[in-house]
């Protein structure tokens, strides 16, 4: 039997919440053992791991996507280029963070609401949104959003008119989808910096809306 066909440590885990502490400490030990072995063998450098963790904790996050959306809201020509080829449009600016191939932006309108999922694993536009939240990777979201997206939206406190078309993008390959949420009314003439404050992570996945103008700092 190969090690992936059974629990290599030969015992199951109890995942009741009462036992969460012991599960965590077991994982700490298991991860430390793996890191130690891989380090001693010379396959990994712990300093590189530190740098990767630090980058995800401090540098990569939804603020990157929010700047892209704010620019799209402010600059119609940029929005047109973004919808045509998001990777090229973002990288051409020279002012937004560089993104990799096959980033695709899809625009929410009064008539159409877009939502993004990976039903097969956890594909997510992490370069522009950071690491996916737990709910995005959960069985509940992955299973239900393709068959009952309005039910999922209700879980996020959102009710769309029945006539609004819903488009769900299942990212089953290496293309990555970024939702351009609708610009809130009452934000005419705002700077990109101020607009970016209204762009939430969930609004760029399609499970949320941009925040109302009152929530931005002047």
């Amino acid at each position: 039997m190969s090690p992936d066909e059974h629990d290599p440590h030969g015992h199951g885990h109890d995942h009741d919440h009462d036992h969460e502490g012991s599960t965590l400490s077991e994982m700490q030990l298991r991860v430390r053992a793996l890191e130690t072995v891989l380090t001693e063998k010379g396959y990994i450098d712990p300093a590189a791991l530190d740098r990767i963790v630090e980058t995800f904790e401090t540098k990569i996050g939804p603020h990157i996507g929010a700047r892209i959306i704010a620019k799209a809201w402010s600059d119609p020509a940029f929005k047109e280029r973004l919808i045509a080829d998001a990777t090229a449009a973002v990288n051409e600016t020279g002012t937004l963070d560089h993104v990799g191939e096959h980033l695709i932006a899809v625009e929410n309108t009064e008539r159409r609401h877009n939502m993004v999922v990976c039903t097969l694993c956890s594909c997510y536009p992490w370069e522009v949104l950071g690491l996916p939240p737990v709910w995005y990777k959960s069985a509940a979201y992955r299973s239900r959003v393709v068959i009952d997206p309005r039910g999922v939206l209700r879980d996020f406190g959102i009710a769309l008119p029945a006539e609004t078309d819903i488009r769900v993008w299942d990212s089953t390959a290496e293309t990555r989808y970024l939702v351009v949420p609708r610009r809130p009314p009452g934000t005419e003439g705002w700077s990109e910096e101020r607009l970016a404050q209204l762009v939430t992570r969930d609004s760029m996945v399609g499970t949320g809306m941009a925040k109302p103008p009152a929530e931005a700092k002047p």
Binding site: D4, V31, A48, I52, T55, I60, P133, S143, V146
Partner: protein, 218 residues
């Protein structure tokens, strides 16, 4: 494979539960697992498709019963063992017991930027794309025991090619040991009723990213 990872359309997982102010990592070990995943990917012995398949092969009760990063950790352990980089006994002992296997390269801290932008999966095409936007296509009814990115809920159903996304590394071939065998990739959109029957939301459309071998003219 028709594994439990292929979740689109399954029912019974309950509501989606967004977490307010979710941290990037819920425990320090999660960050170490993510970083090891990136660093070991850089070594060059497997690609992202092989990583995904090692998770898909987990027994369903493990896949559903453990947290996201615990799955990643187990998948990484299984690949390390499969590639003879370390033995199960060494992971159990938490230290190296034998000399390392020579590997192509190791990620240094100074090179971390290389794993912080998305990889490139586009490849030159050997033939013109078989389908054009607007074409009616049927997702083939295939049930491979190895890795595939064609979700079950789309199989046998008729959709419309919406976009040609270029020619990409074909995950099914990579995992089957047949090399990259690049294929054209399409966004194929299905109506909710085509996928889920007459009771489905008439305003719903779902798209997948489908490689050319998954499709036939309809």
């Amino acid at each position: 494979m028709n594994g439990v990872h292929d979740m689109g359309g399954m029912q019974g997982f309950g509501p989606v539960r967004p977490e307010a102010n979710e941290p990037v990592f819920h425990a320090r070990w999660e960050g170490r697992v993510l970083a090891m995943q990136r660093a070991m990917g850089y070594v060059g012995l497997w690609n992202i498709d092989m990583s995904r398949f090692s998770l898909e092969k987990m027994p369903p009760h493990i896949y559903l019963g453990v947290t996201y990063y615990e799955k990643w950790e187990r998948g990484l352990e299984s690949r390390v063992i499969e590639h003879a980089l370390a033995g199960a006994d060494e992971l159990e002992a938490g230290r190296s017991l034998r000399p390392a296997k020579p590997v192509p390269r190791m990620l240094k801290a100074s090179d971390v930027a290389k794993v912080m932008s998305r990889g490139s999966y586009a490849r030159p095409a050997k033939a013109p794309a078989r389908f054009q936007p607007g074409a009616a296509v049927r997702a083939k009814n295939i049930n491979p025991v190895s890795h595939t990115r064609l979700p079950r809920y789309a199989r046998g159903h008729v959709g419309t090619v919406e976009a040609v996304r270029g020619c990409h590394v074909f995950p099914d071939a990579v995992v089957a040991g047949q090399g990259e065998n690049p294929q054209w990739l399409y966004t194929v959109v299905f109506s909710g009723r085509e996928l889920w029957g007459e009771a489905a939301d008439p305003a719903l459309k779902v798209s997948i990213e489908a490689f050319e071998p998954y499709l036939e003219p309809a």
